[in-house]
Point group: D2
Chain length 141, copies 4
């Protein structure tokens, strides 16, 4: 994986380990920028990572069929507060239909404890669909 | 509001406009760092902002009663893709019990269109509860 | 409203008070059949009522444009345990797009306290879409 | 399993196959009473079954430690429309803390296809906690 991440994924400091239409794995090392005021990882970080790995997998699947995807719902549960260390998150598909996909992601700390887990529902869009005023190119995410 | 935001809230570029135990309002201006690969705001940004405003309000309410709070569930819906401009988000409580709180947030663009909306469920914790190896101080978030 | 409810809505004992593409209101009187083992209304009842009122409104909106809808996500929060009395639930739209809709419902007891609240995300389907082996007729739900 | 189900579980026609603090399995046979107007299983049925199996497992776990539980959030995704046949649902824990639990359930048709899947977040309550005006007995659900 040598795709350089940009935008919000770069803010996250996320590193892609594996990305296929069947499984996506990424990791990040907790830094102070990931904290909320108590000094634990901010819930929004957990949601953001879930969003990226699920939509990356869904996008790769859709791209293989000439579609694009956009996320419509993100539901993330916070399981275990963490302050430091490396977090690894893995996404797998629950359903990959023609109209919609549902993916699930689980994030674990270095000891393998679940720290958060979430699901993302995505809509499949035809190539060249209008998306906030621009044409959608089906390029994997 | 002159509280300087730190950690993930600073990454977000969030500005607090109002923060009471009954209502929290914040805003941010969309920059390239907020984008996902299509050039629209990343779903994780929407979730993060919802998380911050809901937990700030819940924390202020809990603090007034000597408690702290931690988020346990964040469910955010993405309603309208946005590329640029200012987004304003407002959180209000649905329930503020002794054991748990539920808050709702709605984010709008400059024309007042809803761009995303979510709910955060939080647990109330007694002061000095253990939180990932440290004592919780009930200080508003 | 004199449409007789059938199937699961009949099991619920739901009475439709108002049903338009902008607002749906229904009510039921709590009976022992609605209880879980503690003697309070079962969470599944709260979810079911949210599902019906949101999808009724979404279906009416879609029908007016020649579409049908199917629910894909139901997220319901339980706010206040109730044992008896009449519960009134009201659904309103958050977004009604061409591809997808999002509706929200709030259920209240006779004193006006919120007892539960939820959101349903629905996919819009073209008339005659295949749905579990049969053709979809766009008829309002 | 010869515990006779009552209330909403009896309305569902649910049969408990296995119920321990680590895993709960139940099944039902689809009847017209489970349908929504299109003739497929109503989303509220999927939510209800998820609610029952998750809270049964959480309740058994809590009971073994002298607690009770109440559900606070149910998030169910509808994956595959079904009209008839037998549906089997299995719940497993994601986290079982002292304050809160999170369980997940997956429902499958007779061919093993996922038809729906959901998560329930529950609060742990001390025995004799007040619950809608009555004392909570820690008895497994």
């Amino acid at each position: 994986m040598n795709a350089r991440l940009t935008g919000w994924d770069e803010q996250l400091g996320l590193r892609m380990i594996k990305a296929t239409r069947d499984e996506v794995v990424a990791e990040y090392t907790i830094e102070p920028k990931h904290h909320q005021p108590y000094g634990i990882v901010h819930g929004g970080v957990h949601c953001s990572v879930v969003e990226t790995v699920c939509s990356t997998g869904a996008g790769l699947d859709a791209m293989s069929r000439g579609y694009g995807v956009v996320g419509i719902e993100n539901h993330t549960s916070f399981v275990r507060a963490v302050r430091s260390g490396r977090v690894t998150v893995r996404a797998t598909p629950i359903t990959r239909g023609r109209r919609s996909q549902l993916w699930e992601a689980v994030a674990r700390d270095e000891e393998g404890h679940v720290v958060s887990t979430g699901r993302v529902r995505l809509l499949c869009l035809e190539e060249n669909s209008d998306l906030a005023g621009e044409k959608l190119a089906a390029r994997g995410k």
